[in-house]
Symmetry: C2
Subunit: 273 residues, 2 copies
């Protein structure tokens, strides 16, 4: 199935646009997971069981697995999510950025070794770093555009021909990189003016919006300023505010509330672009 | 030992400024390595044995290990290089770029799990993505500045206040990020005009120069246009042109020739900045 169709199905089946991050931190997970012989896998499985039907996507964070040598746990967590929530899109958040053979190796890692549907990619090296991740219509790339961190605008906000770099990136993704309908953009849910500018420059693309919860972003605001004209088009990602909410019941309740805010068909007060 | 002192010792002991990449590709390695039960480790050990005394640094490429699940081979290769060439600086080429806890996880992976001396870092997300890799004086970060690929200038060459972004990045590294003397820049050996501009903006920083050999760059040119006033300041990196030169004898000869071109104390015809 093409990536664009997988994503559309994921929105429909979950009835919403919520993504939950898998960012396991052994020091901060519930005691029964932390005591497990494989704590990272136990934690990820607990999250997947708790929220699988509520999310359109899971976003495993590569660093949280790599720092503790948990590559096998990462692979098994993705396989577990596929079995328990077969509609959910799997986004490997690894922020790859390289060229030539090396970029091909990263694509092989994401799409074959880990069987992710998509991977986040950093565009600082130009088109050479983007295309190796966009060759397969059934797998996608999420290009960093306007990230959620405080100093994001130092580079991303540089003016190019009268507009910020992140708007130029968004337009290039919409008009060039998305030929196979498998290119998304990463746009933080932390600045609604900038989110609106990206949506205006890329009316058809799906956007991943990190920054909801711990970083201060609001799912309702993201939806108001970022949704496509058809009411879809967002993958709004929460991590710590959901996965560190407590035990399975609290985690599910935190996700349920966010999913309600991101439910398909709910009325959207469209903001001016 | 502080990173800056390690690097200075590496130049002195190797009497040159050559770095060799560890980019194992099973399909392209000598048959006796490819047949080994651990081909990636066998290949890396063969390279380290062949050129350890000739190089100031080894640059293992993360993707070539991650794509084939060879994390253990990567860790053991680095430990082997430490034993066989204790003067050599180990640069993990992983092009990390993330923020907050995630960036801290990547620093932990590079400096603790793999025991690398330094890691390559992508600055697209701004200062937030750079600082987590610069907290330890004994470990360094190499910030992508002006990379060696054909489309590098699409983003890196954008004009900011009358100069290209990569020059602004170089100046910020020289004046702000290098407070602990552990910040380097990645500048391709493929464009001598741009290399000269980086050196003018960052007269004191050490530069990693990929692109020699397979990508068309020349070690002599890189030295002429990139060396510091004291004749040091470069880590000129060759990968395929050395590691795919044949068996150990051919590999050593390819490295020896490059090291001669990059020998400390050899006369440099200084180009105008």
């Amino acid at each position: 199935m093409d990536f664009a169709d997988k994503l559309d199905r994921a929105w429909s089946v979950s009835a919403g646009m919520l993504c939950v991050g898998l960012d396991p931190v052994i020091e901060r997970m519930p005691a029964d997971c932390a005591r497990d012989p494989r704590p990272v896998l136990a934690f990820n499985r607990m999250i997947i069981d708790a929220v699988g039907d509520l999310v359109c996507a899971f976003k495993p964070q590569f660093a949280h697995h790599a720092a503790v040598g948990a590559e096998a746990d990462l692979a098994e967590s993705i396989a577990y999510a596929r079995a328990k929530a077969p509609h959910a899109v799997i986004i490997l958040d690894a922020k790859r950025g390289d060229i030539g053979t090396t970029a091909q190796m990263y694509a092989r890692e994401a799409f074959e070794r880990y069987d992710a549907d998509a991977v986040t990619v950093n565009p600082y090296m130009g088109d050479d770093t983007v295309y190796p991740f966009l060759t397969r219509p059934d797998r996608g790339a999420l290009i960093l555009c306007r990230t959620s961190n405080p100093d994001a605008r130092r580079v991303q906000g540089i003016e190019v021909d009268g507009e910020p770099l992140f708007v130029a990136i968004a337009r290039r993704a919409e008009t060039v990189w998305n030929a196979k309908r498998n290119c998304m953009l990463v746009v933080g849910a932390t600045d609604m003016t900038d989110l609106s500018r990206v949506r205006a420059a890329a009316p058809n693309l799906a956007l991943l919006n990190p920054g909801v919860g711990a970083q201060g972003g609001s799912a309702v605001d993201a939806r108001t300023h970022g949704a496509r004209a058809d009411g879809r088009g967002l993958v709004v990602s929460a991590s710590r505010s959901v996965i560190e909410a407590g035990g399975p019941d609290q985690i599910r309740e935190a996700a349920r509330q966010l999913r309600e805010e991101l439910r398909l068909g709910a009325p959207v007060a469209r903001a001016p672009a």
